[in-house]
Amino acid sequence: MPHNIRIIPRLDIKGPNLVKGIHLEGIRVLGKPEDFARNYYKAGADELIYMDVVASLYNRNNLFHLIEKACEEIFIPLTMGGGLRTISDIEKALRAGADKVAINTQAIKTPNFIKEASRIFGSQCIVGSVEAKRKGDSWEAYIDSGREPTGVNVLEWVKQMEDLGAGEILLTSVDQEGTKKGFDIDLMKKVADRVSIPVIASGGAGSPEQINDLIQQSGVNAVAVASILHYNISSIPGIKDCLNRNRVEVRM
């Protein structure tokens, strides 16, 4: 089992709002992202992920300002994703205060983007974001927040991302996302076995026990959580206590 399992609240953003969908769709407005982010930071989040869920679709990104404000009061690593298409977009994100960027759509369109970005900014700040949907015995990569199939095989794609220089994989199961029914452990384990870079598992967290099952069985290094926190089903201390009781190393 990897050391220091990270618990990372994932904030899906649409315009000025924090939103949450199911299977990355049918989104519901939950409130101001600033308030949620501040609370999660204070409760002991290890990092935060900000994801603009409509950026790719409309070709824009609203997060720069939000990240800039977050830096004034949140002193943990911040990852920003959604609609980052060019080297200058990444530069802008880092200048706004992001420590890492998550890239999906543009990486599928031009895989060399990952290579160029990691060469310029370092692997440690390039997160390969993958939206995976089960298809028979395998998984297919999707883009534009789970809307567009690509025909790309997830297990091959994550390995390619690693070879191109991605420093981490953010792996979202579109099937489980927003359902609170637990993770696609099969997918998470296959990806964690395939790559040697850290994997952040996203999609399905509905209870601390499900997160513990995932960690015990899959080999992922971090968990992205949303509904479980946004809807107050559990808390960051609640999740960490559960993991700690099960001998998973977390930052308390």
Partner: protein, 214 residues
């Protein structure tokens, strides 16, 4: 009480926004500067940096900051190097090509060593623990108010190896080996990790750094 003015040395190397905000958070007045007079007249200085050692040294030379830093350190006022800023305090680095550093502390910078039996990667990215090398070593230092051990946030591939063990302020275990994660000699401090990304622990460290100002 008047706010303590802290120069954050500006040599175009990485994002300094978080360190500026974190210093504000602990009640100081940070100023991003590469001006000789500004830096020398401030109450303390922070020397940040992310990226390659040789690029860092090149930029310091380009902005004529090397002599400014030597003179600042001589004043005895608190000085804190962070990440690359800590590594540059050493005599030399073997990153890509052997590059001379500032030599404020004796020793060199080498690539992190990860034992083959461990499945840990380079770069070392994430939260890890810093430990006190001997009892009372942290008393009166920037680690005065934190617990031993404490978790902080790292992003790096190289590590400093001080030749004098007395300069080691903390150690961290990674990949089956302990490395030096912070240094201190007199008014000179260096952290391999990022206090500005290390939540409450990091803010306590910065608060203690500000508290060193006489």
């Amino acid at each position: 009480m008047k706010k303590k003015r802290i120069s954050v040395i500006d040599y175009d190397i990485g994002n300094v926004k978080s360190i500026l905000r974190a210093l504000e958070k602990v009640g100081a007045e940070p100023v991003l500067s590469r001006e000789d007079k500004e830096i020398l007249s401030s109450d303390a200085a922070v020397f940040p940096g992310v990226g390659a050692f040789s690029v860092g040294m090149e930029n310091l030379r380009r902005y004529d900051l090397i002599d400014t830093i030597y003179r600042f350190v001589e004043t005895g006022k608190p000085f804190l190097g962070i990440c690359l800023g800590m590594q540059i305090l050493m005599e030399e680095s073997e990153e890509f090509v052997l590059t001379k550093g500032m030599g404020l502390l004796k020793g060199r910078v080498v690539r992190l060593i990860v034992e083959k039996s461990c499945d840990e990667k380079i770069p070392h990215v994430g939260w890890n623990k810093i430990e006190e090398p001997e009892e009372k070593r942290w008393k009166g230092t920037i680690f005065n108010s934190i617990k031993n051990p404490s978790s902080v946030y790292f992003v790096h591939s190289f590590m400093a190896q001080p030749s004098d063990p007395a300069d080691i302020l903390s150690t961290t275990v990674y990949g089956g080996n302990a490395f030096c994660s912070a240094v201190n000699r007199g008014n000179i401090y260096g952290c391999q990790f990022h206090p500005e990304k290390s939540a409450v622990t990091g803010l306590r460290i910065l608060n203690d750094f500000v508290g060193l100002i006489k």
